[in-house]
Symmetry: C2
Subunit: 359 residues, 2 copies
Amino acid sequence: VTGGRFKGKVKIVGAGLIGTSIGLALSKQGVSVYLEDLSPATQRLASEYGAGEEFFEGVNPDLVIVCVPPEVTARLVKAELQRHIQATVIDVSSVKSPILDELAAEGADLTRYLGTHPMAGRERGGAVSGRADIFIGRPWVIAINSECSVERVNDVEAMILDLGAQPIRMSAKEHDRAVALVSHVPQVVSSLLAARLVGASGVELAGQGLRDTTRIAASDPKLWVQILGANASEVEQVLVSFRDDLDTVIDALGNISGQGSLMALDRLIGNGNRGVEQLPGKHGSRKSDYQTFIVMIDDRPGELARLFAEVGEIGINIEDMKLEHSPGAQIGLVELSIAPKSADRLQAELLERGWRFAG
Amino acid sequence: VTGGRFKGKVKIVGAGLIGTSIGLALSKQGVSVYLEDLSPATQRLASEYGAGEEFFEGVNPDLVIVCVPPEVTARLVKAELQRHIQATVIDVSSVKSPILDELAAEGADLTRYLGTHPMAGRERGGAVSGRADIFIGRPWVIAINSECSVERVNDVEAMILDLGAQPIRMSAKEHDRAVALVSHVPQVVSSLLAARLVGASGVELAGQGLRDTTRIAASDPKLWVQILGANASEVEQVLVSFRDDLDTVIDALGNISGQGSLMALDRLIGNGNRGVEQLPGKHGSRKSDYQTFIVMIDDRPGELARLFAEVGEIGINIEDMKLEHSPGAQIGLVELSIAPKSADRLQAELLERGWRFAG
């Protein structure tokens, strides 16, 4: 028990991945957590995992965290506001405006409600996948609701900080627009790209580029249908602007010898260059803040260890790394990203120790 | 000098990244290599790097490798066929049908020509980026040309094997269709996705999914305009089918409460699941052949070394790895991909040694 900034009794409604993970993390901090789930078996399972006690009538929580699928969130938030008339009630669903709108329309007590969104999904769901540490270092959005009192907002923020996450305040609308851009549209685009491979020949020529662009296409359709459905209009807007650019590319390719076609392609790929530079890197810094180079290693146990042991001896931190695939070869390519001030020294010292570079 | 299967004198025309790399690799094998470049300075530079001797009149090569930009490839192949009337002439450009068509139309001697494509690009070009080992383990397409003699095809294949690459025979048309699918379309899609981020707010919420899908959007527009221009019709066809699916998504989102809209989204994301399963993994195996789990490490020098040293002691090979970003946190998440037969043992042994898992 380490003890955190947040003090109070917490009730968690819905013991899935997020609910269980919050319960585990808060319990570790010594907070009293009470779990409630529609399924008595799930409720008991999460409790046995250490995510909190099973909820019982008579408990008066200070904070209720509703962790259920988007489509039933507003209904359960409203019910909890009525059941616990002193408590702050928050939810964690991945789309914020529709829930706020529905609560307002139904006359729920918005002075005690706050929408939030931890950016900490995992590919596998359920209580058994819960971990206390999935929030560490991740953004956790607090959707500003001007009716909610400052004290309640500060309490929720304290709880988020206790879980190791980074609270970010923005409006529900801003949030929904942002996740459409950084999460929902990339999912659609990756899925549609991967769908092109079904029944296609020549896939054996695929390299790392296709692998990277289609990795998230392996995600669960059932979950994504709900998310896309809840944020339909924001996702649609971004996809329409994507399609405008796509139409330009298709027109240029269909008339490739025509005036301006190459310029159009150059402009769009150049915009992509500028877009990718906007991305935050590790620790909030930008990608372009790092230098990368590729070390070749024999593809057998112990070689990665030897590489990282020597990097450790040299005393330079690796900001990012990536193991490149070499289909058919017994060789691995390790791309290292290094802070510019240290990159030259690391490369020189590795070279001296006999490492070979490929990229 | 190790000596390879291929015997003969080689002339390389164009001392850029690929030409210089081939020259370095063949020279290492003891093959006599002669370099020619439009730029005398580039020609001499590549030679000084060890990629071969500078070409001079009187040399009679057995094999000429034309390594110049796509738009001038056919012209130079034809010229080399005429200059060296015994030699096999091959090219390495990334699109194959237009070159073969142009040579046929101009009456070039196709009995001595073979189009090839090493799938071994690097982000940086030029002689100074050349490395002997960039072909190791990569596919290298031989575009079948029925007029070329079996002996010449076998010689070229021997040279490809000497460079450590994996020769794959297919028709020029099949090649162009395959690279449209696995390389050119992913580039366009990634660029258009990244372009959405220009001037957008909320990018600080981005996670690993957006980072992966937009990584290749950092590629050079000048190079890609040429590649897309040369393979315009194949790329267009795949993009049109992408747009058909995109239209379906946009229609479904625009009428999300309408009959069938959720089913359409479910079907398209499900197709993405099936597509991504087609991808070859490392050593030609499929992605789904591996199990993954995420190890948490403190983000400081030496921690990765300690992890990989212990994995080495346990004696299990890592098939793939990925360092996840934790913006703002001093913690790193390392995703390891492991052959299923070893995954449980590795996880159990790491757990015993005190490592924590996150995902």
